[in-house]
């Protein structure tokens, strides 16, 4: 089920109504049923993948918790890793790996044949719930948390519908605990949740989906456009992907908050970062911290030699790229972020002062924009041609013109993003006067009702 569907707009109030009508000890049953329904509305069969991951990690954690040493627990962790990553690898990377092998062999004149599964669809959200459940297994292995004995609560942790298909990737210590608590209805939570959802719907449906139409038009035939259009499309894609994922995260956080459940923030105004290091503290925070905690630090982090540090950072960024998609363009995107991250790390502390900060911010924004080229392009040749197009223009190239209402929408969104840079949107709006609040609500509501994007623009991160 998509958040931006009539189905969800009917489903969600019903769930909330029953949630608070039920006694707290039965709520997990409702939420688990609702979560499976939410997922099955997309494809019923793939529910079994979630069930499989749930059962494997539930039992492995139970088995680990009864062992006192890491050595004894290790086989169960390995089993959990192989099972979860195996599924992920099969559904997400099977075709990619084989195509890459075939291309590699072809260089040596060897034909490599492999079996293609024609009806193999990437299960929506598999990367998210796999990483979420892996974090649980790893923490039980490290003995940081105890294994959850209540299968229902654990299953709900894996499948909690607001963040099931595109995160934020939650830790058991936070979400699992909250799923057990008896949340009373709170006007404060309801109000803030509704505010976040409203802003989230605007960000996704009005900002991202409309920008997506322009970006798609450009990428359908980049050669037909001029250099200005290439720059505009690149900038618009940056805003589209931000609006798309940020909007989704806001709806997820808001939906959970109306039930009294607090999910971690996933974004903190990333495009106002002054460095790539800062950008990664503000962009897709739940994934960055996952890689930090479960890959970077176990690899040794920044301890040891500079060579080791370089290796660890590059490896994490390459994996991060690969996590996003089964394509070398994503790996390249991760790689160049890693290289720039290291360059910043070795070049020392950034200079202070408002002017220099602004320059650093613009430099970071420029780099992030250019790097998105690899993310958006279906292949390297498109990325290369769009990159070259940024600096050279064909004489007969078309321009990409934004409609006036689109300019207003983008400006309004950027203004809200800027104004709420020190707070989350719900806190920021709560501190405004009644007039400002309602004018903002009015613009958001009218935008959603009258200017939602009309082309098919599925959540970009669903494919990951």
């Amino acid at each position: 089920m998509l958040f931006n569907s009539l189905h969800f707009l009917l489903f969600f109030p019903v769930v909330i109504g029953f949630y608070f009508a039920l006694k707290a000890r039965y709520r997990w049953i409702l939420l688990l049923g609702a979560s499976y329904y939410f997922y099955a509305a997309w494809k019923v069969e793939y529910i079994f993948l979630i069930l499989f991951s749930t059962l494997v990690d539930y039992w492995m954690a139970i088995l680990m918790s009864s062992r006192s040493s890491k050595k004894e627990r290790r086989p169960f962790l390995v089993f959990s890793l192989i099972s979860n990553l195996g599924l992920l690898a099969f559904f997400k990377y099977y075709a990619f790996a084989n195509e890459s092998l075939a291309s590699g062999f072809q260089l040596f004149g060897v034909t490599y044949e492999w079996y293609e599964f024609e009806s193999l669809l990437l299960p929506v959200g598999i990367s998210f719930y796999t990483f979420q459940t892996l974090s649980y297994s790893i923490e039980v292995y490290w003995a940081k948390i105890k294994a959850e004995r209540h299968l229902g609560i654990f299953a709900l942790y894996v499948s909690f519908f607001p963040q099931l298909v595109a995160g934020p990737i939650e830790r058991f210590t936070s979400l699992g605990k909250q799923l057990r608590q008896a949340h009373q209805f709170s006007i404060e939570n309801f109000r803030n949740g509704a505010r976040l959802m409203l802003f989230g719907f605007f960000t996704k449906m009005v900002v991202a989906d409309n920008l997506g139409t322009y970006v798609d038009a450009f990428y359908a035939n980049p050669e037909a456009f001029d250099s200005g259009a290439a720059w505009l499309a690149t900038l618009m894609y940056s805003l589209q992907i931000y609006g798309d994922f940020y909007g989704y995260s806001l709806i997820a956080i808001g939906a959970a908050l109306t039930m009294g459940i607090k999910i971690m923030d996933n974004f903190r105004n990333p495009y106002f970062s002054r460095s790539i290091m800062e950008f990664w503290r503000r962009w897709h925070i739940s994934l960055s911290t996952w890689f930090r905690d479960y890959l970077y630090i176990p690899l040794g982090g920044n301890r040891g030699s500079q060579g080791k540090l370089v290796f660890n950072v590059i490896l994490v960024f390459l994996f991060s790229g690969l996590w996003h998609g089964a394509n070398w363009t994503f790996v390249c995107w991760g790689g160049i972020h890693g290289v720039v991250y290291l360059m910043e790390r070795f070049s020392g502390k950034p200079a202070a002062g408002p002017v220099l900060s602004t320059i650093m911010g613009l430099k970071t924004l420029l780099f992030v924009n250019l790097a998105w080229l690899f993310f958006r392009s279906p292949d390297f040749s498109t990325a290369k041609s769009v990159f070259l197009q940024l600096f050279t223009s064909g004489p007969e190239g078309k321009s990409l013109e934004l409609e006036a209402q689109m300019i207003f929408i983008v400006m309004f969104f950027l203004a809200l993003d800027w104004l709420s840079r020190n707070n989350r949107f719900d806190s920021w709006i709560a501190e405004r006067s009644l007039f400002i609040r309602w004018v903002t609500y009015a613009v958001l509501i009218f935008g959603i009702l009258a200017f939602g994007g009309t082309d098919n623009q599925p959540f970009i991160y669903f494919q990951f």
Partner: protein, 349 residues
């Protein structure tokens, strides 16, 4: 109670806002959105309020051949043939009964339309057409034309609350229907897939015995487009035509179905007599069904010869000028025969 006190004034304020927004949207943005997403409605807006006869058609109405001396539409020819009444038209490629019904509902209350002539296209009953890629657009149009607050329709548009399927999903549905929809009668094939395979595996042969790929493809296309025996209980087109019948009854408009001419000669030559049997079966089924419902049916199904069809690689209802003139004349003659006191007809020049 605390929550009710909290929420009630906000809900009232929100309701007031929504009413205001709907008014603003309808006044300023609605027609631009219709132009962009449901342009066929603009054709409806251009309909002459005084025209007593309105013709709804798909591409057969306006498609012309390069060789045509006369580029007039079928509806233009009809207008010329009926001396004493004005005929206006609404047209758009791939239109079908589902949209016709929604368009008929949009007719202005004070419009003088007494008779609606709509194309009854056998091909539109096929799985291909029922689930063609154009259906996304058409179902979007249908959704936009529903009589609801304009702002709600606009929201539903952005929520994609219409049959909005990917090409892959539609292709899969079409293949499934080809595999599962039974063909009645003893033709030796259970379904379209069987028939398609049987003809496709042998192919259409040239005189020298070699396989003619172009004609083989046309033959298999004909099977896929016309090879079904219409199931009135499950074929959505039937339900849509039935809805149109009901709307016209409510509006007191006489409905006339124009059963479109198909290339029966090519079908007989490339696919065989079985295909003609199916055409007869569907022809009888539709004419009987709609006669019972008080609808007049002008039967042009076998009215044209092969040379009148302008597309040779794919089955369509695109006719040359002579073909368009013939079918229009038949419609005019039928109307004059049924309503001699209403229509004065002459041969189209």
């Amino acid at each position: 109670l605390k929550f009710v006190k909290y929420i009630a004034p906000r809900l009232i304020a929100l309701t007031g806002l929504l009413v205001l927004f709907n008014w603003v949207y309808t006044e300023i943005f609605w027609w631009d959105d219709l132009e962009e997403h449901a342009d066929v409605l603009n054709n409806m807006r251009k309909v002459e309020m005084d025209a007593p006869v309105l013709y709804f058609g798909e591409s057969s109405n306006f498609n012309t051949s390069e060789k045509d001396v006369d580029k007039r539409r079928i509806s233009d020819f009809l207008d010329d043939a009926l001396l004493n009444v004005q005929v206006d038209y609404v047209e758009k490629g791939a239109l079908h009964a589902g949209i016709y019904a929604s368009l008929a509902k949009q007719l202005a209350e004070d419009a003088r339309v007494e008779m609606l002539v709509v194309t009854l296209n056998l091909r539109s009953f096929s799985a291909d057409w029922r689930h063609s890629a154009l259906e996304n657009y058409l179902s979007k149009v249908d959704m936009m034309l529903q009589k609801r607050p304009a702002l709600l329709n606009r929201l539903l548009l952005s929520l994609k609350h219409y049959e909005n399927l990917s090409i892959e999903e539609r292709s899969a549905t079409i293949v499934e229907l080809w595999n599962t929809e039974k063909i009645e009668g003893n033709l030796g094939y259970d379904n379209i897939s069987d028939w398609d395979r049987a003809v496709g595996s042998v192919g259409i042969l040239n005189e020298d015995g070699s396989r003619n790929e172009e004609l083989t493809q046309l033959a298999t296309s004909l099977i896929k487009q016309f090879g079904l025996t219409i199931d009135t209980s499950s074929n959505r087109r039937i339900a849509e035509f039935d809805r149109l019948v009901q709307i016209c009854k409510q509006r007191n408009i006489q409905l006339v179905f124009h059963l479109m001419a198909e290339n029966h000669e090519a079908m007989k030559k490339l696919v065989g007599e079985e295909m003609i049997q199916i055409l007869y079966h569907n022809q009888k089924l539709l004419i009987d069904r709609y006669h019972r419902n008080g609808v007049k049916v002008v039967d042009n199904l076998f009215a044209l010869e092969d040379e009148r069809f302008t597309d040779s690689s794919f089955p369509t209802e695109h006719y040359d000028d002579v073909g368009r003139k013939i079918v229009a004349q038949n419609v005019a003659d039928s109307l004059a025969k049924w309503y001699p006191d209403k229509f004065v007809v002459e041969a189209i020049k």
